[in-house]
Symmetry: C2
C-alpha cells in the first residue's frame, strides 16, 4: 500500500502543517494537535469543540471556522484524541458563554471528552456534551457501546454552529445539536478496505465480488457481506435500513458521502438513486451534500445520511458558513 506521506509516525502533524499553510483563517497548534479559528475566543459566543481520530478528513478540522466549529482535536489515525487536547481547545474557545462538545459515539472519544469536560468545569467553564449516534447499521461494535456516530456529526456541527454564531445560549445550542442527532440516520457500504499508515496492511479483506454492508468509518465490520450489486440496489439497502428506523418522507437534508477513495462521478450516480428512492416514498430532498465529508482514509464506498428537516433546522443549515470544507453565503 503506497501512501503519500513522509513517515507513518508524522502523518497527522505533517497534515496539520499543511492545513495551517493552506488556511490562514485557522490557528493550528501542531504540537498540541488543536485546530482553532484564528482570532481567539468570541466573547459571549458559545464555543463548539469536536474531535476524534484522524483519517476522516475533512472531519473535523475542515469544519473549523465561522458558523461551524471553534476548535477540533485530531487524534492519531483512527485513535481518540486525549483529554489534554480537548481541555486545551475548550479553554481556548471559551468566550464566557460555555462550550459544547460534539462527540461521536466511540468509547474512547466519549470517555476522553468526559474527562476533559470535568477538568474544564473545575476551571469554571460550563461544558455540555452532545453524543452523536446516528449509524443504524449495528448496535454496539468494535469501538462502540450503542450506535456509532457518523454523518450526522457534520449536520450537527453546521446547524449548532450557526445557532451559536447567532448568539444563542449553551442550552439552546446543545438542544439543537441533540435534535439534529435525533432526526438523522446513516448507513455505510464499503467496496474496499483501507490501510492505517502505521499498520501498513488493510484493516480487513474483501473479495473482488463482495461489499460490506453497514461498514464503520474505521473499517469495523457492519451487518453482513453481500455480493457486489448495482448502485440502485446499494442505495436501497442503505435507505431501507435508515427507513426502518426513521421515515424518509417530508423535507430532507441528505448527504451522499464518499469514504475517501470513491470518485465523485460515482457519488453523483448514487445520489440520483437516493433521490429517486426518496421521492417514491414521499420525501423531498431540499438540501444536500455530495462528496467526501467523513471519510475512512482511501476506502472505496459511501455512506448516506438523512436528516428530517424542520423549518428552523433548514434556516440554520442555510446560514453562512466559512470553513475549509464547507463555505457559503457570507
Amino acid at each position: 500500500m503506497k501512501k503519500l506521506i513522509n513517515n507513518p509516525d508524522t502523518v497527522v502533524t505533517d497534515a496539520l502543517a499543511g492545513l495551517a499553510a493552506a488556511h490562514p483563517s485557522l490557528a493550528v497548534d501542531a504540537e498540541n494537535k488543536v485546530i482553532l479559528r484564528a482570532g481567539g475566543p468570541r466573547p459571549g459566543k458559545v464555543g463548539l469543540v469536536s474531535g476524534g481520530g484522524s483519517g476522516h478528513e475533512p472531519l473535523h478540522g475542515g469544519f473549523v471556522g465561522y458558523g461551524m466549529l471553534d476548535a477540533a482535536c485530531p487524534g492519531e489515525v483512527f485513535t481518540s484524541p486525549v483529554p489534554d487536547q480537548m481541555l486545551l481547545a475548550t479553554k481556548a474557545v471559551n468566550g464566557g458563554a460555555g462550550v459544547l462538545h460534539i462527540v461521536k459515539n466511540y468509547t474512547g472519544d466519549v470517555l476522553n471528552f468526559q474527562m476533559a469536560a470535568e477538568l474544564a468545569e473545575d476551571e469554571g467553564i460550563d461544558v455540555v456534551p452532545v453524543v452523536i449516534n446516528d449509524d443504524v447499521a449495528v448496535e454496539d461494535s468494535l469501538y462502540t457501546a450503542g450506535r456509532r456516530g457518523t454523518g450526522a456529526t457534520v449536520f450537527a456541527e453546521k446547524i449548532a454552529g450557526a445557532l451559536a454564531e447567532e448568539g444563542a445560549d449553551l442550552a439552546a445550542v446543545a438542544a439543537v445539536a441533540r435534535e439534529v442527532n435525533e432526526r438523522s440516520r446513516s448507513f455505510g457500504v464499503a467496496l474496499s478496505p483501507c490501510t492505517i499508515p502505521a499498520a501498513g496492511k488493510p484493516t480487513f479483506e474483501l473479495a473482488d465480488t463482495e461489499v460490506e454492508l453497514g461498514i464503520g468509518i474505521h473499517g469495523e465490520p457492519g451487518r453482513t457481506r453481500a455480493p457486489m450489486a448495482p448502485a440502485s440496489e446499494l442505495a436501497a439497502v442503505a435507505l431501507d435500513a435508515i427507513g426502518a428506523d426513521l421515515p424518509v418522507d417530508g423535507d430532507l437534508l441528505v448527504m451522499v458521502n464518499g469514504m475517501g477513495g470513491t470518485p465523485l462521478i460515482e457519488l453523483y450516480a448514487l445520489f440520483s438513486e437516493v433521490s429517486q428512492y426518496v421521492r417514491a416514498r414521499g420525501g423531498r430532498i431540499t438540501r444536500s451534500l455530495v462528496g467526501n465529508y467523513i471519510t475512512s482514509l482511501e476506502m472505496q464506498g459511501f455512506s448516506v445520511t438523512v436528516c428530517r428537516l424542520s423549518g428552523a433546522l433548514a434556516r440554520l443549515w442555510d446560514a453562512p458558513v466559512e470553513t475549509p470544507a464547507l463555505r457559503w453565503g457570507r
Copy 2:
C-alpha cells in the same frame, strides 16, 4: 474492480441525473449532455463554455455557476464530447457578447471545439477558444500534440469567469484566460492506475514499489517510473519540473489536487511539503486549493499546479463564486 454504478454504459447520464437532483442552480440537459446555469443566458455577459471527457469530476460540471462557467459539456469517460454538445451549449449561453471556449489541449477536444466554434460563427455568435496546456511533464503524448491541459483549467475557468461576471468584453475575458495559462504550470504523480468502467481493467499496471512521474489525467504515461518515495521527495520532483519552466517565486496560487482516490490527510501532508519548498525559493503561496478538483476516476496520486499571480489575477481569484465545487464570498 468494483464501481458504484448501475451500468458502465449509463454512468455519465446517471451522474448527470444526480448532479441535477443535487443542484437546483444548474439546468442539466441529461439527454444532450450539457450542464447549464439555470435561468438562461445573461444578456450582455460573455458566456463561458468548457468540456471534456468525464471521469475528471468535479471538472467541468462542478464549476458551472455564478462567477465561473456558464456551461459544461461532458463526454463519455475519458472521451471528448462531440461538436453538437458544444454548439448547443454555446447557443444556450450566448447573451449577445460572445462565447469563450476553454479547451484542454487534447487532440479530440481541440478539434471538436473548433468545429463547434465554426458552426456557432455560422449562426452569428462570436466564439474565441483558449487552449490550456500547462502540464510540463511531456511534450506530445498519447492524446496530445504539445503539452497537455490539466490543473490550470480550474484557474482559468475561475479567473476568466470572474472577469466575465464583471461585464468585460470577449477579447478581455479571452486575454485573461490566456494569461492564466501562460502563468501556470502543472505536474502529476500516480501511485495507482484507474479503471474506465466500460473497459473493466486498469489503464496501466504499476508495481507496489513504483510511482509514475508526470502522469496524465487519463492514465497516459508520464516521464518515467521511479521507486515510491516520501511525500517530500515527490513534491520536490513535481516542483523541480515546474520550476525548470517557470520560476516559483513571488505571489503564487497553488493547487494540490488529488487524482480521486487519495485521502485529504495525504494531500494536506503534501501541501505542507510544497509550501516549504516554495518558501525556500522565495515564493509566497497567497492563495491555495487542496482537494479533488481535476481527477482521474479513483486513481491514487496528485498533481501540483502553480500560477504566478498578479494583483489583478489575485483580485479575480478572490471574487465571489457559486458553483457545486467552488463557492465563496457572495
